[in-house]
Symmetry: D3
Subunit: 215 residues, 6 copies
């Protein structure tokens, strides 16, 4: 459906879901951007007090939103750990996506919160990443993410839907899913995919007739 609208690059590459028991993820993107760490700036004291962009983002990400982090696809160090993920869950976040690493993943994977990362990675973010600003357009896993885009995730991965296309895409997705469920049923009955998927005129008519009967 995004392809039909001209989008060829909406699937975040190189991340996976840590918590397989989590619900499907849907929410607006709240973005956080990292640049490479620099040793004179990124010392342990950095997190103290208010004002650190990563900590601020965690307390600012609104309920129902997905925190999406741009770590330049470098997963050799963490961009967060279990305490921060738990805080986000308690605050009502819909999920977390980072193309960097996460630490404490054995704990995180037990949360009932969809969390996607590039790698299980114990090193502190200060080793490699410096949080710099939030709610700016970012890249994550090779995909543009603008604040307010809708971020959708399942066990396969994460897709980013531009804000303005969301309603259309949601409607079409439902229709498409129903049709594909019917196709799946036909395939299991032994039907060839020729003329079925994609459907020719005859198949379309057959499907519509079937749908009419279901109501």
């Amino acid at each position: 459906m995004l392809f039909k609208r001209g989008l060829r690059n909406a699937f975040i590459q190189g991340v996976f879901l840590l918590n397989r028991a989590a619900p499907r993820m849907v929410g607006e993107a709240y973005t956080l951007r990292y640049i490479p760490a620099r040793e004179d700036v990124d010392q342990l004291g950095a997190f103290e007090g208010r004002g650190h962009p990563q900590r601020e983002a965690i307390e600012a990400c609104p309920p129902g939103h997905v925190l999406v982090m741009d770590a330049r696809r470098d997963a050799s160090a963490a961009t967060g750990g279990d305490i921060l993920m738990t805080r986000l869950m308690v605050r009502g976040a819909a999920g977390i996506v980072t193309d960097g690493g996460l630490r404490d993943t054995p704990t995180i994977e037990k949360l009932e919160l969809p969390v996607y990362c590039g790698s299980r990675s114990a090193p502190l973010n200060l080793v490699r990443h410096h949080a710099v600003d939030a709610q700016v357009p970012i890249g994550c896993g090779g995909v543009a993410v603008y604040p307010g885009d809708v971020v959708v995730g399942d066990a396969e991965g994460v897709v980013v839907i531009p804000a303005k296309m969301v309603d259309d895409v949601a409607k079409e997705a439902e229709t498409q899913t129903q049709f594909e469920d019917w196709v799946e049923m036909k395939v299991k009955e032994g039907r060839s995919i020729f003329g079925l998927y994609p459907p020719n005129a005859e198949t379309k008519a057959e499907y519509e007739a079937w749908r009419a009967k279901q109501r």
Copy 2:
């Protein structure tokens, strides 16, 4: 055993088994080749009617065969989804191997069919891959696959055995597995691996004696 026959490159690199509950995979290779997509050719209409090489391959792959796809090791887009995998299963395919991505993997991983891919990847194949021909020699995961080679897979991965070596290798594999099971037993009893694995003359005699007794 392939090493002994001079083959150093028979294990398909960079693919993993989606469905851990699936049976062991053995079957002759039926090959499908993709090249990079080009926007003017690879439009949604491409799959309509007969004649699209991917759809043709799925309806042509004979029962008991393994569909092996060459996607140039680019797993950033799918080379198939659950409907096509289900159709292959219904038609009696022995398994599927692609060094590209697959979509709908949460559904595919529940099929009782061995399916190997390079990545879980939602984007439509048209974004990146153009199916061009079937039953030609291909590369898959860095390994040459000729139509008719025997493709064997377990939870570790996939090995390609040249057609002409299959009978010999199968016999030797059985012998070797029995011997290694016995070695494993001895190791569990506390035996050192020196002289045991690989076996010296004494160990060989001991094993033969043990085997004779088993019959």
Copy 3:
């Protein structure tokens, strides 16, 4: 804690735990080094008799130690299989870490022994790796490993702690873990991370008071 001591590179990159049911891994490093294989040297006969560095290492790695293998981060061939891993387990090894591949992983993953590798990889080590010497300083997954360093692993991965820092780090780790458990509890109760993590003076006092009460 390693970061505080100036170490930014102690987490072995690119390896994963095969046996999720295994106990936590702690032990001194026993090292084994591989270089690229060369066809005239690395023939099947190589393992016969005593004297092959890989087989020697497996019989020499002391109980309670972790065998750490430097395979130049090339996981396209194995650096061992189930028989060798079983032998190590029987001999009392605390675990195995390799940045190369391992074969027979479906069997290995059932052992009650922590085994970390770069990939499931069927090809024989002779195809790519030549064991050359043991108990020398090596690199593994981008990290320096000196014989005698302490190697610690959990489901997230493996950290290497320089021998001379081990006692200090162990003490501090316990303290830190207790504090983080308390923080986790507070976060679950709904506390903001500001002033909590990292803690300000007030939070530190609160934690000390709580600890005093626990005893």
Copy 4:
């Protein structure tokens, strides 16, 4: 201009020009496809007699054509050397492009023939590559190449133009180049790029007036 026609992927990635003194390259693609080598097939005798696809392709590539080779972007071994490149030059080829390696590059780089490769690479093609067929659609450096497409190269690299777009693109390229030369002149005179590049109505009028005067 290809972008305007919807093509986003026409530049062959990862190849460079060996012979900087060579003329600009333009010609129709004559394609050659390699798969991974297999030790039992790819022996030194392979090239003897007629019938080897690589040797056949070199003698069949028509004058004025560009030989484009698909080596799966693996440049760790050669796909040709100076003797074959010289033969192609003598036969009147317009150029050579391979995403594999080439050997004897110190000699090849002195030829007055545009030759592009992925790497200088001494190993014989048999080590890694098996030539399998010619004049089929291929991928080269991540780009689809169909026999008959027009392949254009300069010191920057190589672009593939679909056969059916060639005339249009050629005309437009000339127009565009003339305009950009004029823009370059204006920029050197100190003009800001706002309104100049891309041009607004005023700039377009100025350019047309200037062109009219030139005739």
Copy 5:
């Protein structure tokens, strides 16, 4: 000298100098940030009128500054071409650094302006890159670059010096270079490096004596 100040990561990785005849580059960083392109936003019309961040940056980068572009180390498309580079030169820029690609490199490499890029790359930036904002902290080739940092380049590559360290580093660099020139002279005379490089007390005295004589 940066190492002595605790900086281990100041060299921009993966870029090279296009114009070998250019002067040494020194200037303050003026930064420009790209995110991945998205098809609905990044159309040809994008550059028209004022307001496009890339074009704005080119007209805003002050004389004597270095334009540093963060293209997420993706050099498969351009982040600029000869017209923009020429405009920067005319406006008095001290140089350009991008970890993306540049187009028209055969023309750019003849400019008397130091230009560093990740690759020669013909595709339009719209294919892959979307300029989003300027004068924010960025990453370039794995290094943090803050507006106002000093960017220094020669034929080897580019180093980023934090603003606050510049004066100290500059002084020390001069001293160090003079000393290394003297060491080079001694080495050419046949002196061993032991005690010379790094210098022991005796060598230091010898050098100081020599320097005193030079004045």
Copy 6:
């Protein structure tokens, strides 16, 4: 010729010649091994006094030998600079090969000494590399190098020849080069490669006749 002797992996991958004016390189390998740096060990003081393996190797590498360095193919930091390369030249080394980086490359590339590296790289070796021992078997660019192997380099790259094969290979190389020069001549005269390269019986006879006449 190495292929004929069963060696498929003798070409050092990923290095290039810095000094194009240098003579062809031939010499026995003197090896130096690096592991990843560790911050507590690899401080500036490390090089002081005798005993540092890198400095020792530079003073120990015998005249006529090639210093080959194993930097684990990580070229993001230097494994040496102009002073060390100059010292090696003065001591009579036949050349240097490293799969790591080198610093001061603008100076090194003017030396009349063949120097091969993985990248131009300014960062000090201490940032990434720790020299650990010399004259042990190593890997360099994916190839096994044993002390005493013969290392041969030209503008294309570097090949490693096992000590025991050197005499045979040298003789055969001369014969082969003479034959290929004759083939090149024939190809320039317009001869087809069929039957010529590789030669059939007739061609072999023709070549022998031609050679006989030359004497």
